[in-house]
Amino acid sequence: MEIPWDIIVIQTVNGVVTGMILALVASGLTLIFGIMDVVNFAHGELFMLGAYMGVVTLAATGNFWLALVVATLIIAALGAALQVVTLRPLLGRDPLYTILATFGISLVLQNYALWQFGPVARKIQEPFTGQFALFYLQYPWYRLLIAALSAAIIGGLYLFLKYGRYGIWIRATTQDRVMAQAMGIPVPWVHTGVFAMGAGMAAASGVLFGPLVGVNHAMGLDWVLKAFIVVVVGGMGNLGGSIAASIFISLLEAYASIWVSPSQAIIVSSVVLILTLLFRPTGLFVPTPK
């Protein structure tokens, strides 16, 4: 069989692009889990609402970048409010209850969006059109921009965690919540801040991804599932691992969809998940299994 190099290169690029968005979504999820031990089932809905906020702001102002910033801030604030109202009271209880609470939130947000915006998908216009020739395809520059921006945001997050004063607070809280609090770090607010950050990152992903697909109320479901697979495969709470896993899985799915339909491509990621769980349950990209 002749190897279709051109398709493989195209799919590699596609895989990296999708992978970077997935990495942005998954980073927020793994951040929230690593620091607060909360499995945020509503993460996909924050992604979806971010996209809708983008639609609304874009319609009002005509400026894509403004829409990106506004959507991120609004959803970050929503995330903070949700955390304070529903998750703070659950601190210290069985983790099952936070899973249930975030699941409940996801149902409410999803159905609210359905009611508010209707079942017809909306479109976000990309900030610029323009393509370059990639083999026989006209490949949009915008897609490359998404990958670059996602990488930039994740990079910013990394720097923030490593060097900022609040980054130290977050890392201390992750390692020893009790001692962090004894050192004067206001842990409840660290948790709220982290949740808001994760929500904002999900929202940004939604807006960035918006131009590629239609924005509709159910778009969060697929992403949250994939993000969970990534977080488990990459190692719960491991930021670098999630990024690596995102790209890895997206590439695999991109290659797989050369031969099977995209909806079946999720089986590929699921197989990776199963293998990881069998042989390296702490994560494929974690250096030593603990």
């Binding site: 130290i168 890392r171 050192m183 004067g184 206001p186 842990v187």
Partner: protein
């Protein structure tokens, strides 16, 4: 032997505090006081509730009855981050430094506070590095790579970053070599000279007697006896009573 006077204006006053762990009654009406700048020892056998007392003062454990009064205000039930900010610092018995943070970052958790100018921060750091030159050498090393003694130094230095009025010291000499024990003794001296009060829980009787002004003895979850350190010696019958095997 006359019992010493309880301080007239205590910095901190623990009044009849009870705590439970599940159904176990751990603290059974603990009462004690520490005056500003005073070094007070808390002695007793393992398991009588000394550490629990410190943890309850620090807000890590909830008191089910009783009060804790700091600078004249009731602070019972306040979260520990608020207590740290008003001047109560805690050095736990297993040190609990942030292992994955560097020495510098460990210090910064206490140093980065509101209302402290950059100049003040520099001065504080210099002072602490003067007392703990080994920490200065290792300032960019991860906390987990330090030896046991160095970690203890870091735990105390970290508490000093808060510029506290009182430090709750839980068994600082546990597991340390004799040379380090005398270093701990010196640090306590330094803090005392700086006007910082210390509530010292220890198993090391000679150290406690030498460093403290007053000593409380705990048994069965309550303070049973109270004496001036000067009137006690290592083989005093009271010591045998509350610490003997």
């Amino acid at each position: 032997m006359m019992a010493p006077q309880a301080p007239a204006e205590p910095l901190i006053s623990v009044e009849g505090v009870h705590t439970y762990y599940g159904k176990s009654h751990i603290l059974n009406g603990v009462s004690l006081q520490v005056a500003p700048g005073e070094v007070v020892g808390l002695l007793g056998r393992n398991g009588v509730g000394k550490s629990t007392t410190l943890k309850t003062i620090m807000g890590l454990i909830n008191a089910s009855a009783g009060r804790i009064v700091y600078e004249g205000r009731a602070v019972t039930g306040q979260p520990s981050h608020k207590l740290a900010r008003i001047g109560i610092a805690y050095v736990p018995e297993d040190r609990r430094i942030f292992r994955l943070l560097t020495v510098m970052e460990n210090l910064r958790t206490g140093l980065d506070r509101h209302g402290v100018s950059e100049a003040q921060k520099k001065k504080l750091l210099e002072k602490v590095f003067q007392y703990f030159p080994r920490l200065a050498e290792r300032r960019h090393q991860a906390g987990g790579t330090l030896s046991g003694g160095e970690q203890q130094m870091l735990a105390i230095a970290r508490a000093m970053m808060l510029e506290p009025k009182i430090v709750l010291l839980d068994e600082p000499t546990e597991g340390l070599m004799p040379r380090m024990v005398s270093q701990i003794r010196e640090i306590i001296e330094v803090l005392h000279k700086d006007g910082v009060a210390i509530l010292l829980v220890e198993q090391n009787v000679p150290l406690t007697l030498a460093a403290s002004q007053r000593v409380y003895f705990m048994e069965k979850g309550a303070v049973q006896h109270h004496a001036a350190a000067a009137e006690l010696s290592v083989d005093h019958p009271v010591i045998h009573k509350y610490l003997g095997v």
